[in-house]
């Protein structure tokens, strides 16, 4: 068994010095070593998106990363988005549009769509559905989530910003 390595992860602004096996996934590290259990494991394969966190601001699948790969990096988990327990505007929209039921896929969706909206302030419905393609939800049928994202989209400033509005792909 390979010996443990010392790493330092900054998670939601707090620094953690840890001793971990090289094979420990980032998801398991966040959940078991740092005990932030809001990041969920749904497939360990990078398909379902439940484990999505932000690594230096970019959405990544923490089940496909090793904790040692995140050494000296900054991670944001769902818990870091609203540390004082006040729902963010996107979380409020998810609630208003019934974008969640059992809650298991929800943290991954919230983390990813929060950053998606920052990078894409005027998405079309097609773009939203494509962005959500990385999240498997078995409960909602996605409609409420799509509406929540669109509700948070900024109104287009110019016609060019509005983007194309196509029918939805089957």
């Amino acid at each position: 068994m390979p010996s443990k390595r010392p790493i330092t992860l900054t998670v939601n602004g707090i620094s953690y010095d840890l001793l971990v096996e090289p094979r420990l996934t980032l998801a398991d590290c966040l959940r078991d070593e740092i005990e932030l259990t809001g990041t969920h494991v749904g497939c360990e394969q990078g398909v379902c998106g439940a484990c999505t966190v932000l690594l230096n601001g970019e959405a990544v699948r923490s089940c496909l990363m090793l904790a040692v790969q995140a050494d000296a990096q900054a991670i944001t988990t769902v818990e870091g988005l609203a540390p004082d327990g006040q729902l963010t505007p996107f979380m409020e929209a998810m609630r208003a549009h019934h974008g969640l039921q059992c809650g298991f896929c929800t943290p991954g969706v919230v983390v990813h769509m929060t950053t998606f909206l920052q990078d894409n302030p005027h998405p079309t419905e097609v773009e939203v559905r494509l962005a959500l393609a990385g999240h498997v939800c078995r409960c909602t049928g996605y409609q409420g989530m799509v509406e929540a994202v669109l509700a948070c989209a900024q109104p287009a400033v110019t016609p060019e910003d509005a983007g194309e509005s196509e029918g939805v792909a089957g």
Partner: protein
Amino acid sequence: MTTATEPSDLHFIGRRVQRVEDPRFLLGRGQYVADIKLPRMAHAAFLRSPHAHARIKRIDIDEALAMPGVLGVYTGEMLCGKLAQPMVIPGTPPVIKTIRTFPLALDKVRFVGDPVAVVVASSRYLAEDALERIAVDYELLPAVIDAEKALAADSVVVDEELGDNIIARYTQEIGNVAGAFAAADRIVTAVFRQQRQTHAPLETRGGIADWDVARQRMQYYASTQIPHMLRDMLANLLGLPAHLVRVITPDVGGGFGQKSILQREDVVLCLVARELGRPVKWIEDRVENLTSGHHAREETCYIEAAVTSDGVILGMRSRLFTDAGAYPVLFQAAHMFTALGASYIPGHWKIANYSYDAYTVATNKCPVAPYRAPPNIYSVVNEGIVEVIAHELGLDSVAVRRRNIVRSEDQPYMTTMGFPLIFLSIDQAFEKALELVDYPQFRSEQAQARQQGRYLGMGIATYIEPGAFSNQLYRSLGTPISGWDSATLRVEPSGQVTVLVGLLNHGQGLDTTLAQVIAQELGIDIADVTILYGDTARDPYGAGTQASRSAVVGSGATSHASRTIREKIFRIAAHLMEAAPEDMELRGGGRVGVKGVPGREMALKDIAHTAYFHLAGLPEGETPGLETTSRYDPPFATFSNATHACIVEVDIETGQVRFKTYVVVEDCGTMLNPMVVDGQILGATAQGIGGALYEHLAYDHDGQLLSPTFAEYLLPTAPEVPPVRVEHIVTPSPLTPYGVKPMGEGGVLGAVPAVMNAIADALAPFGVRVTEQPFTPSRIRDLLRQAGR
């Protein structure tokens, strides 16, 4: 749209109240079983059979036991003898055989994924390392993987105790089937096949068993839909008195029926925790879940319809085969749903002559568990056959439907199932759905498109959905499910309300919908009510959340409890305000006042304070406190109805199916919270679309599962699910509280045949039969190739 109650300050039922439970999930502060840590907790990993069928000659665990961090290794031989009772479902011969399962495989393995041994170690990683060191000597046996072939006299037998592979066989004839067939102008036959699928909740299965040797008490943290039933089963199998077994269920990340049964792993964890004297946790990984976490839906139905030349169905005969897999599950084994599926085929059509011959068959594949609308084959068949009838007779399929459908004026319509269809809006929903897709306009669009070599199709599917079964119905199915449910309602000394129920919310919004009932009946704010569930030591008995029961039985039990407490509140308040109880009224916000006297009122908290701390202020004979428990057994079965209609375009070069439109017209009577109802429809519809187009658990000839990960088992994601327009008709049931009807599973019943029939309609010019799911691009291309395209 009509609602049974109009929104106002005092009316919460029927409003789209935002969910009380959402903040914890959105903030990532839900607590699922994987999130729980107990002191000294150890971790289990299961060794599972790589073979579909093999004798276990020898298991060598010595090397595994010596691995770092390993606390114990157990096999079937070591554990099965520690059961107090066998894991048996008693049969009712000759229809149903007695069937048995085991915590771990004993003597032989019967499917790929069959658990053979368990390792307990200080971490899951170390436990999995040790799995690789367990040496199992298997003697391979041939595997039987096709349910119809499993009935052959010379077939390999999955369970020798059964003698053959027939678990159950149901036959019934109602009316004069021979007469109907003799009188027919035409006999139309078809075979409908539905592929193996699985529930795939985002949260896999799991549990933590904690044996307290000092108190001789087992505490089991479970991701389950059925805490009390699970407690009963564990107590029985472990030989423990029920009051010393406690099931605690935290948040559950989806179930869909996969968690409405006893898992073999639940039993293993408890046995092993008792051996080790430390809590033992197991969280299933996704490969385990797709391989061993129970499957569903694999059924084949041969149907014959006796019809007149204008498509009126005079009678039907069906043969149904349910592939149940290698072991039964307690206590909702596959045969229960074979019976329901076969008998429900006449469904919403006026058919008085019907016979069926239905088999539940064992195969060397993963066992099956009920999955959202378990007998859904009935709606696939009864809507699919009408499409075939229309095509064979050269008639418009909507016209054929209109000739056979049970209309409001036909109600009460006595079905071949022995009970009437009543209080339903079957034909209204059907006609409304046609209106929403603009059917006549579609037909002209379809004709134009065909001239351009484009193939559009419309599929429409109507269903009746049974749910919220009573005690009597479960008894008639021979299964120990209670049917009724309970609510304990306690007004705390401070005036807020705590409610304990025997249901198990796992996404259905019960924290909110039941609070809406209480808030309405007690005239308080939703924020002043907490709904609790999931602790068998605290909560009154219930059958959990399954069979679309929770709104019906939950509103029944909570409304009854609320009215009991409201009467006591009125008695106490009347006494304190020197008025009569019949003159009291609720004024909202917890205030209770004298009718017609605006200034004369008091707060619930003051009434509660008297009931707890100032007994001398209570009326003569009134008991202290403000708490009651109510129980509600629903009517035998309650039905809702809906129609799904969709328009698709099929690309005949690639076989791809694209949705243009999808509508649902649904009638579940009174809706406690229409937003929650819509969410259930949308989620179930997505699962139906997934089943019709994408999801397939494929086994090869040796019984190896070819789709053990999400890379092969394709769940629909947002681009695959069309926007769905939902409209409601409201026909309250006069038999249930508030007129609520069960509805959570129905989306599957509508979606699968609607999609199937849309593709059939699109490909009608090619004369192909669209009856064997899934309708993947390669399946569609195969059909077209056979037709010369």
